[in-house]
C-alpha cells in the first residue's frame, strides 16, 4: 500500500477531487473501494473542499432545525478518510487550473499535481437580481453555514419569507416554520412545485401547505426589497401589492458552480454547466465533472441519485471500467412539512397521445394522477399529493415497462373491494432498481442472499440499499421478505412458542370470540402451558377488554410477580409501595400518613420523577397491613407495578403561577383519575404543562398536554428513558371535551394494536403512515372505529377498582401475601443496613459478616432492627 500522506509514489495515479459534497464524497468512496480491492492499481487521492467540513447530507438539511447536529448530518469523518489514505484539505477553495502543467492551486497558494482532475463543485443558490437583495437578513439555503445564519436571523425575526415555491423552497419554508416564524412562500409561477407537479396537484399541495399555517403567494414577481413599516423589510411586487417581513430566504433554483471551468476554458453550456459525455469527461481529456455542476445532454440533474451514478461513471472510466451515465429518472418521493408528495416521469402528460386518470379526495386532500400511453399499456408518469403509498408500485411499472392492468385506474383508487393489490416483489424483474441512491437492483439483493446474507440488516450493510434517502425502505423489506419466504425461511411474528400470533392478533381473538380466561385462549388457539411472555400479555389484554380484578383466581396465575403482589419486586425480594398521588398534588395530612407508615414499617422513602413517593423495603407479608393503613387514609394504588397508566405530571399552572394560562394541575388530576388502571402493552405516562414554558416536560411523555390561550395542545407518543423522543404535535387549541375524546381514541387504538412491551413512541414509528395515519384514524375517523374506541375506554373507566382495596377485602386474595404457608416467620435472607439515615438492602458480603457475628437464637424480625 502506498501512503498518500507521504511522498508520492511514481507509479500511482494522482487524482484531485475539487469539492466534497454528497456526490464528491460518493466518488471518493468508489476510489476507496477500488484501492481496497485486491489489485494492482493504487490511486493517490487528494480532496479539496471549499467548505469547513467534509461531506454531509444535504438532502436532510432541514432536520438541522428539528435538532439534528452537523455531526449527525455528516456522511463521513476525517478518520475514515485518513484510514483509507485519502488526503484532504478543508477551507481549500481552488482558484486556478493549469491544464498544461496539470496542477490546481488553492486560495492559500497550495499547488497540487494531478493525473486526473474531478470537478464536483455542485451548485449555488440562484438569487434573483432584485434591488435590495443584499441586505443582512436576505439569506440562502444550501450549506450548514447558511443554516447557522438562518437560525441566527430567525432568533431576531417574527416573520419570514421564502422566495421560490419549488422543492427546495418548501423545504426551506419548513425550516422557517420549525424555527417558529410566521412563514410565507412567494412563487413567480402560478403554482407550487411546477416542475414536478401538475396544476391539479399544485392546487391540493397549496391547500395542504396553507392548512399548516404557511401562507402561499403565487404569480408574484418581487421588484424591490425596501425598509418595512411593521417589519424589517417590505417586499414590493409587480402587481402593486406588498408583503412585510423580517427576513427573506432565496430558494429560487440552483445554478451550476462552473466558475473554474469558465475561467480556464473548459466547455460550458449556453445557460451554464460543465459539458460532459457519458463517461462524465469534460472537453478536456483528463478532467471530469460530476453532480450538479455537470451538464449532460443539455440537462442539469439536481437530485442526488443521478449525481451518484455520475460519480460511479467517472470512477469507472478512470480505473478502466465500463459504467456510463445514461441520464436518470427524475422521479421523486418526499415529505414536505409532513405533506407527502410524489412525482414520476412525465407528470405533465407531455408525451404525444398520453392519457390521464385522476383521483381526488377533497375532504382528505388527497390527489393522485397517472399518465399512461395512448394504448393504456404503459405507465408514463404520475403525481401523488397527500398519499404516496402507491409510489413504489407505480415507479416500478414506469421504470420496468410492466404492462398495466386492464383498469389502470385501479392503481390509484382507494383500497376497497376492487382495488388492485400492490405490485408484489415477485412481479419485478431482476433488473428492477430497488434503491436508486446506491443503484441496487433486485438482482443484486438476490445475489447478496446467494453469497451469505440472511436478513434485512445484512442486505443493507452489504448492498447499501436503503441507506441513502431511505425512500425505498418499504420496498426493500417486501423484496427481502419475499426472498426469505422463497428460501423457506419463515418470517415469524409469533409472540412465543405457545401462541403463533402477534399481540394484536391475540387481542382480536380475545375480543371477537369473547374469551375471558387464559385457559380458554390456550385451549382454542395455543399449545403447552404458556410462559412469562404469553401469560402477562394475555392478562393485559383481558384487563383491557374486560377489566376484571387482576387477582381473580382465573387470572392470578398469569400475572408477573409485580402484578400478583401489587408491588414492584426489588432485588432482595421485598416490594415497593407506591400510592397514587394524582397530578402530584397532596395534602399535608396525607403526607404525614405516608411519613408515619414509612416510619412504622421502617421503609426507605424516595420522591420519584413522576411526582410521587415510593416506599421501599416492604416484605410480602407486610403489604396488606401497609395498604390497609394507606387506603383508610384515602390513598389508592398507584399501579406502579403494572403496564398501565403511571403518572400525570403537572406544573403548578395558572392557579399560582404568574405565567400559567390554564389550570394544569386540575387537568392533570382529572386525566389521571380517568385513565388510572388502564392496562396497555407498556406503561403510559402523561404530562400537563400550564403554559408554553413546559415545566411538566409534557413533550417527553406518551401523552403530553400544553396549555394555550385558547385551550390545550395535544402531543402524542413522546418518550424519556433509553431512547428519548419528543412527542408529535397531534392537535392544537382543543377544549377539554375534545382533548379527552382524542386521548381516549389514541390510547385505546394503541392498546388494541401495540406489540408486547412496545412503548407508544416505537408504536407510532412502526405504524404505517405514521402520525398522519393516526390523525386520520383519531380525528377524521377514517376507519370508522372511534365510537367503539370511546365506548371501550368508557367501559374501562366505569369498571375501575383500586386493586389493593379489593385485595384487602378478600380473604382469598390475602392468603397470597404470605412468605410461608406453614409458618409466621420471616425470610432470614432479607437484611438491611443503614445509609444516609435510611435502610438499604445489605450486600452479599455484609450479610456474611452479619450471619457470622449474630447469635442464631435471635428472631429474624429482630435481626433487621438490630443491624440497623
Amino acid at each position: 500500500m502506498s501512503n498518500l500522506n507521504n511522498v508520492h509514489n511514481g507509479n500511482n495515479m494522482r487524482i484531485v477531487v475539487v469539492g466534497n459534497g454528497m456526490v464528491g464524497h460518493h466518488f471518493v468512496d468508489q476510489l476507496i473501494q477500488e484501492n481496497n480491492a485486491d489489485n494492482n492499481t493504487q490511486l493517490d487521492v487528494v480532496v479539496l473542499s471549499a467548505e469547513p467540513r467534509l461531506a454531509y447530507d444535504r438532502v436532510h438539511l432541514s432536520e438541522y432545525f428539528s435538532g439534528k447536529t452537523a455531526d449527525e448530518l455528516a456522511l463521513t469523518t476525517p478518520e475514515y478518510y485518513q484510514e483509507n489514505n485519502i488526503k484532504f484539505a478543508l477551507n481549500a477553495k481552488v482558484i486556478n487550473i493549469n491544464k498544461l502543467a496539470k496542477t490546481v492551486t488553492t486560495e492559500a497558494g497550495e499547488v497540487f499535481e494531478y493525473d486526473k482532475l474531478v470537478l464536483s463543485t455542485g451548485s449555488y443558490p440562484f438569487v434573483p437580481p432584485i434591488p435590495g437583495n443584499d441586505q443582512p437578513h436576505c439569506l440562502v439555503y444550501r450549506t450548514i453555514e447558511d443554516l447557522e445564519n438562518i437560525s441566527a436571523s430567525s432568533a431576531v425575526s417574527k416573520v419570514g419569507v421564502v422566495v421560490g415555491g419549488g422543492l427546495l423552497g418548501l423545504e426551506a419554508a419548513n425550516a422557517l416554520k420549525e424555527a417558529g416564524l410566521q412563514t410565507h412562500v412567494v412563487e413567480f409561477a402560478p403554482q407550487l412545485m411546477a416542475v414536478q407537479v401538475d396544476n391539479g396537484g399544485g392546487r391540493v399541495l397549496r391547500s395542504k401547505i396553507e392548512d399548516l399555517g404557511v401562507q402561499v403567494h403565487t404569480q408574484k414577481a418581487t421588484q424591490s426589497i425596501e425598509t418595512g413599516e411593521t417589519c424589517r423589510y417590505k417586499m414590493c411586487f409587480a402587481d402593486g401589492e406588498v408583503l412585510e417581513t423580517d427576513m427573506i430566504l432565496f430558494s429560487a433554483g440552483i445554478r451550476p458552480q462552473d466558475t473554474l471551468a469558465r475561467e480556464f476554458d473548459i466547455a460550458i453550456g449556453e445557460r451554464g454547466g460543465i459539458v460532459v459525455n457519458d463517461q462524465c469527461l469534460t472537453s478536456e481529456a483528463d478532467i471530469y465533472a460530476i453532480g450538479e455542476c455537470a451538464l449532460w445532454n443539455n440537462f442539469i440533474f439536481g437530485l442526488v441519485a443521478p449525481g451518484y451514478t455520475m460519480a460511479r461513471a467517472a470512477a469507472s472510466h478512470i480505473i478502466g471500467g465500463d459504467v456510463t451515465f445514461q441520464g436518470a429518472d427524475m422521479s421523486t418521493k418526499l415529505k414536505l412539512m409532513g405533506v407527502e408528495v410524489g412525482s414520476i416521469g412525465d407528470a405533465h402528460a407531455r408525451t404525444a397521445g398520453a392519457l390521464c386518470y385522476t383521483y381526488e379526495n377533497q375532504p382528505l386532500e388527497v390527489y393522485k394522477k397517472i399518465v399512461v400511453d395512448a394504448h393504456q399499456k404503459k405507465l408514463l408518469g404520475a403525481v401523488l399529493i397527500g398519499d404516496t403509498s402507491d409510489y413504489d408500485t407505480l415507479l416500478q411499472y414506469a421504470l420496468n415497462d410492466i404492462e398495466l392492468p386492464e383498469h389502470p385506474e385501479s392503481l390509484i383508487l382507494p383500497a376497497g373491494a376492487d382495488a388492485a393489490p400492490a405490485l408484489g416483489a415477485d412481479a419485478l424483474p431482476d433488473t428492477a432498481t430497488i434503491c436508486s441512491c446506491h443503484n441496487v437492483s433486485k438482482g443484486d439483493i438476490i445475489e447478496a442472499f446467494d453469497t451469505g446474507s440472511c436478513n434485512l440488516a445484512d442486505i443493507k450493510s452489504c448492498t447499501k440499499a436503503s441507506t441513502g434517502c431511505g425512500g425505498c425502505t418499504a420496498l426493500l423489506k417486501t423484496v427481502v421478505d419475499s426472498e426469505l419466504t422463497k428460501r423457506g425461511v419463515e418470517v415469524k411474528k409469533d409472540i412465543c412458542e405457545h401462541f403463533a400470533y402477534s399481540r394484536q392478533e391475540m387481542f382480536h381473538l380475545v375480543k371477537v370470540a369473547g374469551i375471558k380466561t387464559f385457559d380458554e385462549l390456550l385451549e382454542k388457539h395455543g399449545k403447552g402451558l404458556g410462559c412469562e411472555i404469553c401469560k402477562p400479555v394475555t392478562a393485559s389484554i383481558l384487563a383491557s377488554v374486560w377489566n376484571d380484578f387482576v387477582l381473580k383466581p382465573d387470572h392470578v396465575s398469569l400475572q408477573d410477580t409485580n402484578d400478583t403482589y401489587l408491588g414492584n419486586m426489588q432485588k432482595d425480594g421485598t416490594y415497593s409501595v407506591v400510592p397514587r398521588i394524582a397530578g402530584g398534588e397532596i395534602t399535608p395530612e396525607k403526607l404525614i400518613v405516608l411519613g408515619q407508615v414509612a416510619k412504622d414499617y421502617k421503609l426507605y422513602t424516595k420522591i420519584t420523577g413522576g411526582q410521587r413517593i415510593d416506599l421501599f423495603g416492604a416484605r410480602v407479608e407486610q403489604l396488606p397491613a401497609i395498604w390497609k393503613t394507606l387506603i383508610d387514609a384515602g390513598f389508592e394504588t398507584g399501579h406502579a407495578y403494572a403496564k398501565s397508566l403511571r403518572t400525570v405530571k403537572s406544573c403548578v399552572g395558572s392557579t399560582w403561577c404568574r405565567y400559567g394560562v390554564q389550570d394544569s394541575v386540575g387537568q392533570a388530576i382529572e386525566l389521571e383519575n380517568r385513565y388510572k388502571g388502564l392496562r396497555a402493552p407498556h406503561k403510559i405516562k402523561f404530562g400537563v404543562s400550564g403554559c408554553t414554558r413546559e415545566c411538566a416536560e409534557a413533550q417527553s411523555k406518551d401523552i403530553g398536554i400544553i396549555a394555550t390561550e385558547n385551550g390545550w395542545n395535544l402531543y402524542v407518543c413522546g418518550n424519556g428513558g433509553m431512547k428519548p423522543r419528543h412527542g408529535d404535535l397531534f392537535a392544537t387549541d382543543l377544549d377539554t371535551e375534545t382533548l379527552v375524546k382524542y386521548i381516549d381514541r389514541v390510547l385505546m387504538f394503541y392498546v388494541r394494536t401495540g406489540d408486547r412491551l412496545q412503548r407508544t413512541s416505537v408504536w407510532l414509528e412502526n405504524l404505517e403512515g405514521g402520525l398522519e395515519y393516526l390523525q386520520q384514524v383519531v380525528i377524521e375517523d377514517s376507519l370508522g372505529i372511534c365510537e367503539e374506541l370511546e365506548a371501550q375506554m368508557q367501559n374501562v373507566v366505569d369498571t375501575y377498582q383500586c386493586e389493593w382495596k379489593t385485595a384487602i377485602e378478600s380473604e382469598h386474595s390475602l392468603k397470597r401475601f404470605r412468605q410461608f404457608v406453614n409458618s409466621d416467620k420471616s425470610d432470614l435472607n432479607i437484611v438491611f443496613v443503614e445509609e444516609r439515615e435510611q435502610i438499604r438492602p445489605a450486600t452479599e458480603s455484609e450479610k456474611e459478616v452479619f450471619s457470622q457475628t449474630q447469635n442464631s437464637e435471635l428472631k429474624e424480625t429482630e435481626l433487621a432492627t438490630e443491624l440497623v
Binding site: 412458542e497 402451558l529 410462559c531 396465575s557
Partner: protein, 115 residues
C-alpha cells in the same frame, strides 16, 4: 408435623394455589410448592425457593410455564427458566435447583426427607 417413611406433612392441599406457587418452611429450608392443573390432571412440584442467580428467596412468586415439553418455573427476578422435574436451569447449564419428592396424602401435602 407427622412423619412416616420420612414423608413429612407441610401444609394442606387447600393452601396450594392452582397454576401458581406458595412457599413452605421445613427445618429452616424454604421450599417452593407448585400445583399445575391441566383439565382434571393435577401435578405437584417442590423445589428450593432460593433463586441462585437473583440471590433471594423468591422462586415461589415466579410464573409457571412450559418449554417444549418441560414444565418450568420462571424466576420473577431475572426470568431464568428452571425445569420442575430436574431442577435444571435451562439458561445456565451449571445451575440446578434442589428437587424434593412431594405427594398429597389425605389432602395433606407431604415432602419426603432424604437423610
Amino acid at each position: 408435623m407427622s412423619t412416616s417413611n420420612n414423608w413429612v406433612t407441610v401444609c394442606s392441599d387447600t393452601d396450594l394455589v392452582s397454576n401458581s406457587g406458595v412457599c413452605a418452611l421445613l427445618n429452616d429450608q424454604q421450599i417452593a410448592l407448585f400445583q399445575i392443573k391441566v383439565g382434571n390432571d393435577i401435578q405437584i412440584f417442590a423445589v428450593s425457593n432460593w433463586d441462585p442467580i437473583g440471590k433471594a428467596n423468591v422462586l415461589y412468586r415466579g410464573l409457571l410455564g412450559s418449554v417444549e415439553n418441560a414444565k418450568v418455573i420462571i424466576s420473577p427476578l431475572y426470568k431464568q427458566r428452571y425445569c420442575l422435574d430436574s431442577g435444571q436451569c435451562l439458561d445456565d447449564d451449571t445451575i440446578k435447583l434442589l428437587v424434593y419428592p412431594v405427594r398429597i396424602e389425605q389432602n395433606q401435602v407431604q415432602l419426603q426427607l432424604v437423610d
